[in-house]
Amino acid sequence: MGTRGYRYKTSHSLSGPGDGGKTGSWRIQRPVIDLERCTPARRGTEVCFICWLYCPDSVISRTIPPVIDYEYCKGCGICAEECPTKAITMIDEADAYQDDEGLQACSTEGPRPCT
């Protein structure tokens, strides 16, 4: 099915996930958080969140632990550069594909939103 019937003749987008396309596909390297070193994850308190603050695409959540949305993370690496405890490592996408399960190491209850 083509776009002939689309309501606009130009590029028109609304603020919301995905209206610029699935930009996660641009990524060559992906940031992976080591929860053993991540300050909010380790302490279980609302601290640090430097990665959330610096992420230019707002794909890191302000939760305990922080979670990266790989559908839209372009892999710029700013979070890894800024993390004060060096908890974030950039790894090659090619390698990540082989071990996709273990990458997003969250607790079984999932990330806890901050208040």
Partner: protein
């Protein structure tokens, strides 16, 4: 009302009558009197519009793009290097499908610096996606501004109305001013397909991926290529729309004819001279002289250059032995752009096409020189390709 004024004043009156709401322009010779006139109209309260003073032509068109995006009827004007300074925004306005109207007061491009007339400025913007109309006299300028807004808004494509610097912009000519009470019957208020609204924000023309995408509403949205295809499709359709608008103009104001081409003594012609702008009216005199000498020759003015009226031209020139294109611009390293376009339109048909160049940088095009050149050419004298009329090397 019948008045005598210069071409820039005719354009300014047209813009006022069209009810343009935002004017942003930067002065450049020979366009300056046009923007001065508009600024006077607004300052005196005679015209209800916002004049945005800007520091450059690039900003002038950027301001018009912003204004048009909010649903305002926007106008700008420039010449030569000012037009080239706009170039990036010229592409943008067309890609964003904004019905801005711009008068291009044609002037030669530097270097070397030159303020006189030729067509290199607007011809070099040929491939930007704008519609290009060429006016031959003041009546076509003032009426052309109204038709340009009507066409731009009907097809959502910006329009350049081009007219010759000095030859038209600074010469005085009598013309009819369209009656204000009839304007509303011809030009409806601008009702954009989409207008920016602070209460319902959206992003326009942000990065658009090579492929189609699913938008936040779950609908499949165009990729870049679909958007560009639609621009081309609507450009070609504008050939028909331009004629419909011309017919509506004739119905309301009682003048107007063919929106695409303007033939003069082309019936039974063996030779037809093709050109753009005021040169084609000068060629009427040349043709009268040569006809009196027994040559079967006519003139065909191209009033709408983009979209290119390829089929209308092919039809008009079928059966003609030779077409001679005289241009005030060229694609360096090859030939005049109109000549190339015409050859493509006539490919596989009878007439041969010869290109000639004249009036570059305001070199005077003497009617006697045109007559002598065409007479010699029709008699079979060899000329250079492309032949430059009036060159003194």
């Amino acid at each position: 009302m019948h008045i005598i004024e210069d071409g820039n004043a005719a354009a300014a009156l047209g813009v006022k009558l069209a009810g343009a709401q935002v004017i942003a322009a930067y002065p450049i010779t020979p366009q300056t009197p046009l923007t001065e006139k508009l600024s006077e109209f607004i300052e005196s309260g005679e015209m209800k519009a916002q004049y945005v003073p800007v520091e450059s032509e690039h900003s002038a068109l950027a301001a018009c793009i912003a204004a048009s995006s909010t649903g305002a009827r926007a106008f700008t004007a420039t010449s030569a290097n000012g037009l080239l300074y706009m170039h990036e925004q010229i592409h943008w306005a067309a890609g964003a499908r904004l019905p801005i109207v711009m008068c291009v007061v044609n002037r030669a491009v530097g270097a070397p610096w030159n303020i006189w007339n030729d067509h290199q400025d607007s011809i070099s913007q040929r491939d930007t996606g704008w519609i290009q109309m060429y006016a031959c006299d003041h009546q076509q300028i003032i009426d052309g501004v109204l038709k340009a807004f009507a066409l731009a808004e009907a097809v959502s494509i910006p329009v350049m109305l081009c007219y010759d610097g000095y030859l038209l912009s600074h010469t005085y000519m009598p013309f009819e001013v369209p009656e204000e009470e009839k304007i509303a019957r011809f030009l409806k208020p601008f009702a954009p397909a989409y207008a920016l609204d602070p209460d319902d924000p959206a992003n326009l023309n942000t990065v658009t991926l090579p492929d189609v995408r699913v938008d936040v509403n779950g609908e499949t949205a165009h990729g870049y290529m679909e958007i560009r295809y639609l621009l081309q499709e609507d450009h070609r359709a504008a050939l028909t729309v331009a004629q419909e608008i011309e017919d509506r103009f004739t119905e309301v104001f009682g003048r107007g004819d063919d929106a695409l081409l303007e033939p003069y003594r082309c019936e039974d012609a063996e030779y037809v001279v093709v050109g753009l702008g005021s040169l084609t009216y000068q060629l009427h005199d040349v043709v009268d002289t040569l006809r009196a000498e027994g040559f079967k020759i006519g003139v065909l003015g191209v009033r709408l250059y983009r979209p290119f009226p390829s089929e209308a031209l092919a039809e008009a020139l079928t059966g003609v032995q030779e077409v001679i294109v005289i241009e005030k611009a060229l694609s360096y390293g090859y030939e005049g752009a109109l000549c190339s376009d015409l050859k493509a339109a006539l490919c596989g048909r009878q007439p041969t096409v010869t290109g000639m160049i004249a009036g570059i940088g305001g070199r005077e095009i003497r009617t006697a020189d045109l007559t002598d050149t065409l007479r010699a050419h029709v008699r079979g004298a060899p000329d250079e390709d492309p032949g430059w009329i009036g060159i003194r090397l």
